[in-house]
Structure formats: structure tokens, C-alpha cells
Symmetry: C2
Subunit: 545 residues, 2 copies
């Protein structure tokens, strides 16, 4: 017994004997206008944070009275929102895109070269890739030649693809890496030669020779991509991204980096629908950490409306007898859905056309009728037949991207005709029916900024202030609804409403400080907004200063 | 052209205009006794290091004359060796073991409790696991009871297993987690109850109830394991570990952590022989980074000698008509070997008994006859029939663990008889035949220290100074041979001799500083040696101070 007592004493007394009656906090943010996005959409002045979570929400006076904080931030009247969630994006894809030079909207070949030089200063890439030039936008409307790139990059391969993907300019180092000479045969395309010399222009098939010479993506490249994407999303106050389709290897890389403290952003990762991925994940309990949530499968029901790949019930209005198509048979879709229904996972299906949507909605409806709280999602929910809205609910959730509406509005009526268009991008109707709507961007298809999402959802205009009065303004969401869609409703759609999506005690201390009050700022100022500071788990991960 | 010139100027001039005639280095280590382990086994005084690699080796005066280093370390006469390589260990397994309390060789239950308390102070584990107690070693030779553990850990489950794995002591929190009450039926074992109360002792089958209540291993747990193992190996100057069998997920985790800068140690990872692993890796180019080398498959031909699982040509000397057994058929082994031979991978096969060894050696020999430089390894090469030594070469490499000899010597002759024993642990003969031998430990089966490996290889005694004159002293290696086996030969066996294994310009700046000269220190002082400091890629990763 003596020994036992000794042991008990030797493990020490861990509680503090400080007589200070205030409670300890790590961070106190005061003098803010905080939209808590709680049930009542109430506002507050101050929050206390401890161990990465919100401890209390109240007035500045109350919280200063009650808490003794290691750090106090005076927000000087700035606005605070819960950390924003992008309910549908391609986070890893965005990161990979950032490893190539963006050459879209260049006004001259000089600008192309200048962007490449700027990129390489940052990246020091061993093989420079670029995409998006279009000589039709230049004063000299001719294919460029490689000479300048040879002078600037004598030893580093450079390969830049035209916007349509059918032509590529390679410098000599890239041609050498690909083993291309003026005598290389060019089947199914062209290797441009002038005066017996390569110009660097390759058209169609021969482009593959250069593409195959690009080094394979290493883990280090993947990590760089993830960190670059993280840097970008934090600038906009995003703290959780739903990645709409990842393979096992990338998911495990993200988990590893997060757990090692090398990646901060929270990811809700949808599993790409491959046999390998499903076999690996579906028999297991979903992978859930504070930073990563793997509990859903991404499925593609159809293609896109712009390219007329979306599956419609009636023919396209601008293409005779063309209906688009489902990407797999209804039987296959149902089989996969049934397999997922038998697992603990959600199914998140890309559905654009009204035909694809009704297949998805009816299948969900029959599988989930007696399956409890499953929250399966219809990603895009883009064109819905009037009679099919009824299937949406808090268990069959619309997940939409408002900037798609303002990007597509220029030609959507061509594809659909005025009657069908009424059920397209119909966010207000979806919300009224489901009682919930999750908002995202689909970046890199659209830009990353959630403020563009907010603007498109509420104002229904694009950044050219078009159209006057907004596109189908009856489908606009209120500012409150849009903010809920980017926070608590997105969290709910992820089964994460108990840990994020609002500023309430016990939830992760993810929040964004804004210079302007998103709920009251004049509409014209919304699109350019960025975060003043972004906090994730109580830690500042971005500061505009 | 003006624009081009502008661009060229704008990318800047990157070379320095410093007139200092000395070359830049990151680190200069002077006044050392450096065993370079180059071809001539030459020594030097100083090394210069830049960008993680050795730049030059020479006298202190020469290198100080020639290099201007950011940091200069005066080794004050200490000894330097190349970073040590363990050619056969279980690095991840060791790390996982470190997540449990080691209760082996405890002298009382009080010591058991004390070790648990000490462990928990460091680890703050949510479910404490321990292994290795044996009440026969205690004064009171009775099964312990849970009361002390209940008092010390009222809320944290504790489950500690007896050394034979057939009994377990659980505290009340662990019993609660397992749902065990005094009325729980105990089929195929026992749930000890005294005076109507659980004592905490479970025997055999009911142990599974507690084991199943232990939380699953998370990525965070895995990372902790890897970092704990790294910390341990760096204390001994080990900079590369060959992990003898890892699954894809752990290999990718290691790669991720290394590339993110969260794990430093270099790993040569043998792929565990499962269908999933082979399907995933074998069709790909081997994964090779500065820190990770995945280019081999681990196969188990037979079991262990101690438990009489090793496959012998003739019956065990201490078990009538018992030969041990191969773990798979010869046909299966050959099929796997042929598949690996058709890939760029090495095959590293565990072979203990002379029968297993001859199957492996003949298969290797026939597959590799015209296959060029493949360096397949025989892991353990433990008992070799006199007529089979001839198969070993620089293409069929013996990879052995000298401490196995001094651990097994107490009963090896019982198993094998005096004649067969002559071909067992016959390291000198293996070296003479192959011209190379790779040395390792097989930790956690043996202790981590490479100095114990060195001692066992050279002195052929265990740490009890037994036996006088050494075990089969004719099989002792010279100190130089043992050091080569732990450095350059191990590197060669990994296809890494161009980047590590000796201190020569261009190789990774991996080295260990020792307080004693391993080549000349009195033999009795060898077993307790540790590193004074360990450097990996020119960065100090361990310091004894």
C-alpha cells in the first residue's frame, strides 16, 4: 500500500492552483460583427477560443470579463463569418493546375513569355508546362515560334498548349527531350518545319511525343499542388473544401499530411467511382479525422450542358434529335447505388440534364425510403423537370454552383428552350423544396472565390454586371440563405453540422474576418471581396497584411 | 528584340560576384578521424558538405584553405563513420511496438506499474497497451490483480499481456470498454472472478474481447510510430533502414512524410508479398527518391529455427522425423520469383533452414543466370548446406543478422547437431564466397543497436561475455569487414552504392560522430556504444549533448 501511495503521488498533481477566477482561453476576438449562422442567424461581438474550438460567443465585455486569453484580437468593427465551405470543388485538381502556367486571355506572345518567366521564378520547374494561349487574341494572329523560349530556357524544356488542346509550342529542350527532329514522321498531325528547321509547333498526334517526355508526377509534386491550392483557398476564407472525386492514393496523402501537421485545410473527400477505390473503402468504416472526412462516393450520371453531353428527357433545342446520354446504363447506376446504400457511405452523383436527374432522384428515393438519415447529394442538380423537384429533401440534397448559372446563361436557353430553362439553375425552388441547399464553385471549372458564388446566388449577375435585373431573378437566394448554403447547410450535407458551419461553442474555431459586411455591402463590391484574415482551428492561416 | 532583351534582363543575374576565392560550403567538419570506407578503406581528417552531399574529403588544413563554410564543427579527434545502414529490420514494426509499454524483464508488479506510469507520462495514450510481464520472475509468483491499475487509471483503459500471450490483465476501464462483467461467459478460456468480482485476469479466448475494444490504428498513430522509431535509430548513427516487409499504405505514408519534410530517415522498403502490393507495384517503375527506395519484394520461404519452423533437409536433431516446412510450395515460390524477375524489382527471401535456402538459391541461380545485375538477397541465409555456399555471389547476396547467432547459440546445436551447425551463422564463409555480406539486426526481434551487430559479427559473443573465445570464432568477420557490411556493402545490396555507404564526394552527407574509435576500441566497450551525433544529408538529426 505504501508503494501504491508513492506511485499515486509520483504521477503528480496536474491541476493548477492559480487563484485567478477567470477561465483560460487561447484567443479572444472582440469588437467584431459576428454572424454566427446559428439557428436564429444571430449576431455577436466576441468569441473565446480554446484548444482549437469555440468556447463562448457573446459581447466583448462579457467575454473579457470571463476569460483570460493568451491572445486578444481587436477586430475594430470588422465582420466575422464562420469558415466558408465549398461544397463542390476539385481541390487537388486546382493544385495540379497551379503547377502549369495559365496562358488564358494573354494579349500577345510577349505576354505569354512574360507569364512563363514569372511562373518559373516562383516554381523553378524542371519541365515547364503551360496552357491556354490563343493566337487569335493577338495582334499578330499567327502561330508563335520557339526562338524566344530557346533563348530564355536553353536547358529547361517548355511546352505550352493552345487553348483548344490541338496545338502545342515546344522549345528546343522539350523537342530534344521528346526526341523530335525535322525528320520525325508526323502521323495524324503536324511537326512544323520551316527552312529545314523545327519551329516548335506541333499539331495533334505528335504532341504526345512531348507530353510523354514530361516527368511523372511525384509525391513531392502532389504535395506542392496541395499546398498551393490551400494557399489560394485560405485567401478567400475557405476552411473546408469538398473535393468532388479523389483516388485512394491522394486521399491517403492528404490524411498523412494533415496528421503530420503539414496541411491545415479540412477536406471532405468524395471517393472517385473506380473498382479499386470502392473495394478499398466501402467495406471499411468511413475515415474521419478533425481534418478529413471520407464518407461519400462521387458518381457521374451524365456529361455537361455546354458540350451537349447532359442527358435530357426531350431533344436539345439546338440540336435535332439529340438527347445527350447517361454515362453508364441505368442498371449499372442502380447497382452501384445499391452497393453504396448497403455501406455507411453517401452517394454524390453528378447530374446535369433533367433525364439524368430523374434517374438519380428516383433511384435515391427508392433506396433511401426506409434507410434513415443518409443525406445523399445530387451534384449540380442543374436542369430539373418541374415534376421532379418533389424528390429533393434533407435526405436528397441539392448541391449547386451558382457561378455555373451566370457562366451558362449566355447559351442555356439555346440548349433548353425557354420552358425547360425555368427548371434550370433554379436554386430558390430547390431550396424551397429541400429546405436546404449546399453551395460550391466547381473550381477550377469556375474561379475559387466564394464571394463570386455568393454574388451569383444572390444577385444572379456575372462580373460584367450582366444581365440587368439578374438572370432568372425569381431564383435568387437571400443573402442569409446564400451564407447558410456556404456554411451550415454545406456542413449538414457533409454530416458535419455538429463540428462546423456556425460559430457556436464546441465547434471548430474556423472563421474568416472580412473588411466589409457581406450581409450589407453594396452588391457591386461583393465580387472583389477577399478575406482580411482566415482562422482554422483557432490558428491564423491567412492574413491580408 | 528589345522586348526579348528586357525579358532576359528581368529574369536577373543569379551568380554571385563575391571576389572571395574560397568555394562555399554549408558545413566543414575538421579534426576528426574519418573512416571513409572507400575502396581502400582510407582515413581522412575533414569533410566539406554542400547541399546535403559530401563535397570534399581531406585534411583539416586543405579543406579550411579551400572552403568557406557557413558552419565549422571541430570534432576534436572524434571518430566519424559513414551513416550506418541496417540491412534488415522492421522499422515500422519497431515504431508500433514503441506505442505499447515494454514489460519484459520486470522484477515485480510494482515495476510493471511504474513502467506503465512512466510510459503514460510520455504518451498520454487513450488506451494503454503493454506486453511481456511474467509473474514467474517476481517474488510473489501469482497472477496480479487490477486494483492498483484501477486506482491509477480510473478512466483510461489499461490492458497488459503476459509474455506468452496467453493471459492478460485489464483494469476496470478496459473491462468496461470490452463489456465484460462477472457474468460474461468465458468459452475457451477464463475470466477470473474472486468473491464475485473481476480480478482483471483474462486467459486465452476472452482476451479477444479486450483486444477488440482497442481503438483502430489511425494515420496519426502510424506517424507517431514512425517518428518514435526514427528517434531511436538516430541515437545509434543509423541513417538508412531496410524495412523487411511493408504494405503499400505504409510505404506511401513514409513517402508522403519524407517529401513533406516530416520524416528524415532514409528507408529501403521491401514490399510485402501480397497480391495487392505486387499488383500495385510490380508494373510500375520502382519508386526512388533521395529518402525512399522501393525496388524489392520480401518473401518468406520458411519459419524460424527456434520454433522448429525452419525447413531442413534432414530431420531436426531434437525432434524425431520433423523437418520444418516451406511456407509455400516450391512451385508457388518459383512462380512469384519468375514474376519478380520479369520486373525491375529485387527479390529478398527469408530463408532459415538449409532446405529453404537451397530452394531459394537454386531458383535465384536459374532465373538470374542471364539476367544481368539483379542483386537478389537471401535474408538470414541462416543454415547453409556445405555444398550450397557456392550459389552466393554479388548477384545472390547474403543478408545476415549477427546478433541472431549470439541469441540462438544456446540451442542452435540442439536443433541442428554439431555437423550441420558448422554451416549456420557462417558469416565469414558467406563473405568469402559472395565477396559481399550485408549486415542487419532484424529489430525488434533483436535490439536496435548496430554496435551489438558489430560486436556479434567481430567478437562472436553476447553481452554476457559468453562464450569464452566466441561462438564459432572461425566465422568472425574483421572489424573492417563488419563496418563494410553495415555501410557500403549494405548500400550495394540496395543498389545505392553510388549515393551512400561511404564518405566520398557526391554522396549524401550521412555520417555519425563517435566518442570512441570503433576500429580500435577494446572489445568490451563496443556493446554500449552510441552516437555522439548523427548527421543525415548534412543536417544534424541527433546529438548526445
Amino acid at each position: 500500500m505504501k508503494k501504491l501511495l508513492f506511485l499515486i503521488l509520483s504521477i503528480g498533481v496536474f491541476f493548477s492552483c492559480d487563484n485567478n477566477s477567470k477561465e483560460a482561453a487561447d484567443l479572444l476576438v472582440i469588437n467584431a460583427k459576428i454572424y454566427t449562422v446559428d439557428e436564429e442567424f444571430s449576431t455577436a461581438e466576441a468569441v473565446a477560443i480554446k484548444d482549437g474550438k469555440f468556447l463562448a460567443v457573446g459581447t466583448s465585455e462579457e467575454l473579457q470579463e470571463k476569460y483570460d486569453a493568451t491572445e486578444v484580437v481587436d477586430a475594430a468593427g470588422k465582420t466575422i463569418l464562420p469558415g466558408l465551405i465549398d461544397a463542390h470543388a476539385h481541390f487537388y485538381g486546382q493544385g495540379m493546375n497551379l503547377q502549369a502556367v495559365d496562358l488564358t486571355e494573354t494579349k500577345s506572345f510577349e505576354e505569354v513569355v512574360s507569364r512563363i518567366v514569372e511562373f518559373q521564378k516562383q516554381k523553378n520547374s524542371e519541365f515547364i508546362i503551360g496552357r491556354g494561349w490563343d493566337q487569335n487574341d493577338w495582334e499578330v494572329k499567327e502561330f508563335p515560334v520557339k526562338d524566344t523560349l530557346d533563348a530564355l530556357f536553353p536547358d529547361t524544356p517548355v511546352a505550352i498548349t493552345r487553348i483548344d488542346g490541338h496545338a502545342l509550342l515546344a522549345n528546343q529542350a522539350a523537342l530534344d527531350a521528346a526526341g523530335i527532329t525535322p525528320n520525325t514522321p508526323a502521323e495524324g498531325g503536324e511537326i512544323e518545319v520551316k527552312d529545314g528547321k523545327l519551329t516548335g509547333i506541333l499539331v495533334d498526334n505528335p504532341m504526345a511525343l512531348v507530353e510523354n517526355a514530361v516527368p511523372a508526377t511525384s509525391t513531392k509534386d502532389q504535395i506542392t499542388a496541395l499546398l498551393d491550392a490551400q494557399k489560394e483557398v485560405f485567401q478567400y476564407g475557405l476552411t473546408t473544401i469538398n473535393d468532388a472525386g479523389l483516388d485512394r492514393q491522394v486521399i491517403q496523402l492528404i490524411d498523412s499530411l494533415q496528421q503530420a501537421g503539414a496541411l491545415d485545410v479540412r477536406i471532405y473527400a468524395m471517393i472517385s467511382n473506380t473498382k479499386d477505390n470502392l473495394d478499398y473503402f466501402l467495406d471499411k468504416e468511413p475515415l474521419k479525422t478533425d481534418k478529413l472526412n471520407v464518407r461519400s462516393v462521387k458518381f457521374y450520371a451524365d456529361g455537361a450542358l455546354g458540350s451537349r453531353g447532359a442527358a435530357l428527357k426531350q431533344p436539345y433545342s439546338d440540336k435535332h434529335d439529340h438527347f445527350g446520354a447517361l454515362l453508364s446504363s441505368v442498371a449499372e447506376f442502380k447497382e452501384t447505388a445499391a452497393r453504396i446504400a448497403a455501406s455507411p457511405y453517401q452517394m454524390n452523383t453528378h447530374a446535369i440534364g433533367d433525364s439524368a436527374n430523374v434517374v438519380v432522384l428516383k433511384t435515391y428515393d427508392s433506396l433511401l425510403a426506409d434507410a434513415g438519415d443518409r443525406r445523399w447529394k445530387v451534384e449540380h442538380s442543374q436542369v430539373i423537370d418541374e415534376e421532379d423537384f418533389k424528390y429533393f429533401s434533407k435526405n436528397i440534397i441539392p448541391s449547386v454552383q451558382p457561378t455555373h448559372a451566370t457562366s451558362d446563361m449566355y447559351w442555356a436557353q439555346d440548349r433548353l428552350g425557354p420552358e425547360r430553362e425555368k427548371g434550370a439553375y433554379a436554386y430558390k425552388q430547390l431550396l424551397d423544396q429541400a429546405g436546404i441547399i449546399a453551395l460550391g464553385t466547381d473550381f477550377p471549372v469556375e474561379k475559387v472565390s466564394p464571394f463570386l458564388t455568393f454574388y451569383a446566388a444572390v444577385i444572379r449577375k456575372d462580373t460584367k454586371d450582366y444581365p440587368e435585373g439578374g438572370y432568372m431573378p425569381e431564383q435568387a437566394l437571400s443573402r442569409e440563405e446564400a451564407l447558410r448554403g456556404m456554411t451550415i447547410w454545406a456542413a449538414y450535407s457533409n454530416f458535419e453540422e455538429d463540428e462546423k458551419g456556425s460559430i457556436e461553442p464546441g465547434k471548430f474555431a474556423d472563421f474568416v474576418i472580412l473588411d466589409k459586411d457581406l450581409m450589407e455591402v453594396p452588391e457591386a463590391e461583393i465580387p472583389e471581396m477577399k478575406a482580411n484574415a482566415t482562422y482554422l482551428g483557432g490558428k491564423k492561416v491567412f492574413s491580408a497584411q
